[in-house]
Symmetry: C2
Subunit: 498 residues, 2 copies
């Protein structure tokens, strides 16, 4: 390793800002269209972002083309940070979220697709601002697809090599074109899904604007809504909620599966082990929740109205599937306050905060594939104790998994647990009680959104101290970039030249 090629890092970051600024055209147009009198401020945000990007690119135009691992890490982490620092400008310049910590939190929550908010009244916000909020999710989701396709498998972070093996594209020998090609295919699916969901939501009775925003929030597993009550606003429209249930499921599924589906290759989907596990987890936990809600819980204890449009049982099924999917896919939409159902479901959902969706989706959390490998390895561990000399590898998708990958996944899990407990301790030091601190840390790290206690699905993060908001923002970034990508920059080995 030689010294880090900072010029190419800055150059790439400049390109990202250009891209970010380009997306700001949408809120500018929205503000103009809805006559919101903040068009000038939004245009100014766009100009500042684009010019910052141009300046960074121009000042580093003479750069060495050499790009290696360390530059990659810097680009990913700093990239997210620079997106946030410019992406918060529309909030700050329009004075809709004037304080730094609030605007930073809301924007980080956007790009990391967490969906936690500090807004006490979402519905008073101008449409242009709400659209930008949803767009930060959608841009973040695009970033995650690149991260999963290109960065994590290449660098071997947390066992994501397992994902790379199944991504579609030209032969494995042509690595670079393959990655670009795969990313493009998956982006296309992401885009098509968003359009279809928006159309379906409109047909089901949502307004155009709400339909677009919720589609942007669903596919990115983000969770920002245009309503104070989130999707519970449509508790009298089961069809709307079933559409969101379907698209949350798709957003939590490996996009490569959708690629197979578009090619009518359903056999490949069914043969995919992670998909089967993901589906099973959803079905098992949703059915269990349905039974508990139907027999034990009173949905009306919620502060949210729960009209039984089709009947008691349908209501139990719908809210169970909705909230299980919202938590497992880490979307974080709310139709009902799951922390008020029963003590058992509260802790069960707390456990689900650590599950996560599939690798190759936009969901956060630990991810199904890692859990499956760890569970299988756990069973093997018992056999290994009984037969110390036998070689007993973990089998996944019909193949033996290299012990090194299992080792890396174990390391990832432990680092996740450690980040969670340190995250909770630091949050508690800002004065949060036990349940709130633990829930807030799990939710931020897993990019879920709602949490427990004073950060329940019907509350928001506005009551945190400034430091608390920044700390949660850090946890969101940490979880979103799969821990290592962020933490490695803080390690002395990273900066050592040799």
């Amino acid at each position: 390793m030689s010294t880090i090629n900072f010029k190419i890092v800055l150059h790439t970051l400049g390109m990202l800002l250009l891209f970010n600024g380009a997306f700001m055209i949408f809120p500018v147009v929205a503000s103009y269209y809805y006559n919101e009198s903040i068009t000038l401020e939004l245009t100014f945000s766009l100009i500042v972002t684009v010019f910052s990007g141009l300046f960074m690119m121009f000042s580093t135009r003479k750069h060495d083309k050499n790009i290696a691992q360390r530059e990659g890490y810097l680009i990913v982490t700093l990239g997210w940070l620079f997106m946030v620092l410019t992406g918060m400008l529309p909030y700050v310049f329009t004075k809709m979220i004037p304080e730094f910590s609030n605007a930073f939190f809301e924007t980080m929550s956007g790009y990391t697709t967490t969906g936690a908010s500090i807004l006490n009244d979402i519905e008073v916000m101008p449409n242009s601002i709400l659209l930008w909020r949803s767009l930060t999710h959608w841009i973040g989701g695009m970033g995650i697809i690149v991260l999963t396709v290109a960065i994590l498998p290449l660098f071997g972070i947390g066992g994501m090599q397992l994902f790379n093996a199944e991504a579609p594209g030209p032969g494995a020998d042509k690595l670079k074109p393959r990655i670009a090609d795969t990313a493009k295919r998956l982006w296309l699916i992401y885009f098509i899904y968003t359009v279809i969901e928006a159309i379906l939501l409109k047909i089901a009775g949502m307004g155009y604007f709400d339909a677009v925003n919720h589609a942007l929030s669903t596919l990115s597993t983000g969770g920002f809504s245009t309503k104070n009550d989130s999707v519970a606003f449509w508790n009298d429209s089961p069809m709307i909620q079933y559409i969101i249930i379907l698209f949350m499921f798709l957003a939590g599924t490996n996009f490569v599966m959708s690629y197979f589906a578009f090619k009518f290759d359903f056999k490949k989907i069914w043969q995919n082990e992670e998909f089967r596990w993901f589906l099973s987890f959803i079905l098992v936990f949703s059915s269990l929740t349905t039974l508990v809600i139907f027999f034990k819980a009173d949905l009306d204890l919620n502060s949210i109205p729960h009209p039984r449009v089709i009947g008691e049982f349908e209501s139990s099924i719908r809210h169970s599937f909705f909230q299980v999917l919202a938590v497992v896919t880490t979307t974080g939409f709310v139709t009902s306050d799951f922390t008020l159902w029963t003590p058992f479901l509260t802790i069960l959902f707390f456990g689900l905060f650590f599950l996560g969706g599939s690798a190759g989706s936009t969901s956060g959390g630990i991810k199904v594939v890692r859990h499956v490998i760890l569970i299988k390895n756990g069973f093997q561990e018992f056999r290994r104790v009984l037969h110390p000399n036998a070689i007993l590898p973990v089998r996944y998708k019909g193949k033996s998994v290299d012990q090194k990958i299992v080792f890396t996944i174990q390391g990832f899990f432990i680092l996740y647990a450690l980040s969670f407990i340190i995250g909770a301790v630091v949050l508690a030091s800002t004065g949060l009680d036990f349940e709130t601190a633990i829930g807030g840390a799990a939710s931020s790290l897993g990019n879920v959104g709602p949490a427990f206690g004073k950060l329940s699905p019907v509350d928001n993060f506005s009551g945190l101290t400034n430091f608390g908001k920044l700390w949660c923002s850090f946890l969101m970034l940490l979880g979103r970039l799969e821990l290592f990508t962020v933490l490695i920059i803080f390690s002395p080995y990273f900066w050592r030249n040799r």
Copy 2:
């Protein structure tokens, strides 16, 4: 592997019952001495236990001497269970704890050195019953020493091979005599420490009876007290509490270190890496707690009186060191309700519930050595990501640790986390709130004793449902026997003959 030699398993269990029955002489004598009118019932417990043991031994006297791994696991887990089933007889026969679930819980809490209680008023109990309670701790502590010296390292459970390497005794080639020899040496230290602590406590002002009971509870890191307020009863006698602080520290230290100390080989102690880490953890966390208590917390918010005998600062130091040691060594004695100090300290202590003392001590939890290996491996993981082709082993005590051992320790940690979350979910299903369910599971699994919420240091476990009590008892056993030893019996591989 052939079929399991059940006869030798039963024979050994019979010997354990004989041993258990022999210890019942102490409560019998105590009852007679204190004129407690339950001497007959206690004698009956002794007779039933001894005769059960004799019957089991006699009916299996013609047994094959062959003993292998699977018999070892059965003996350990069933051994603890049989000790509990006979050890609860004194409570049941004297009708002091008449219900099965309560008596089972209290006895399991005793032998697993957990120290959680279902007794609402400890001080109304006859001395003989209180002595038996403390003795169950002490017997359990002896069992743990054998487990650590003989079973865990041999079977390679959770990386305990690392412990075996440092145990004193004859050359490694003579394995069997070495194990017996090591166990005897460590038992002797355990016994001597108990006697010394009892004498010191008496000198410091405790009554004879209380001194003996607290010495039995300290060295086993058990935590049963003879007072409703636990050691807080002596909050006006700092000297008593400092003595207990010292012996909690010794009980949480590898007894092999004490063996070196008795041989005046202090260099070996200082060179021991786990000892240095254990000491550092205690000092860091206690100092931090001292500062927070002194500047932020109000000790008088406790329901327990906190006379400032020597002054405010001394009080902060004493309660900090006492509670940090009580939790880290998993003794669980109480001088102050740490869940009422500050939100930060509540979560910090929750984290400490997972730390544990040293390997080769009587403490529960995950243990310092495992954390150290995992933390070191975590740092190496960053270097491995940056240098994928370099071989970067974990170094412990100046030597490279076999990757297999690190792998096993990772597996142990993950299984511990899984047991904890399932433990909490099941506890919540009995109706416990978030904080209580999570705290109760962590405390039971780590054999700590007090927990959080409605199971705080000033509460007890009597409010749990019968199922809740049995579930906590299971978690105690699971944690005490280092997970694998218990769970392996439930695995189908265990019962497969081949």
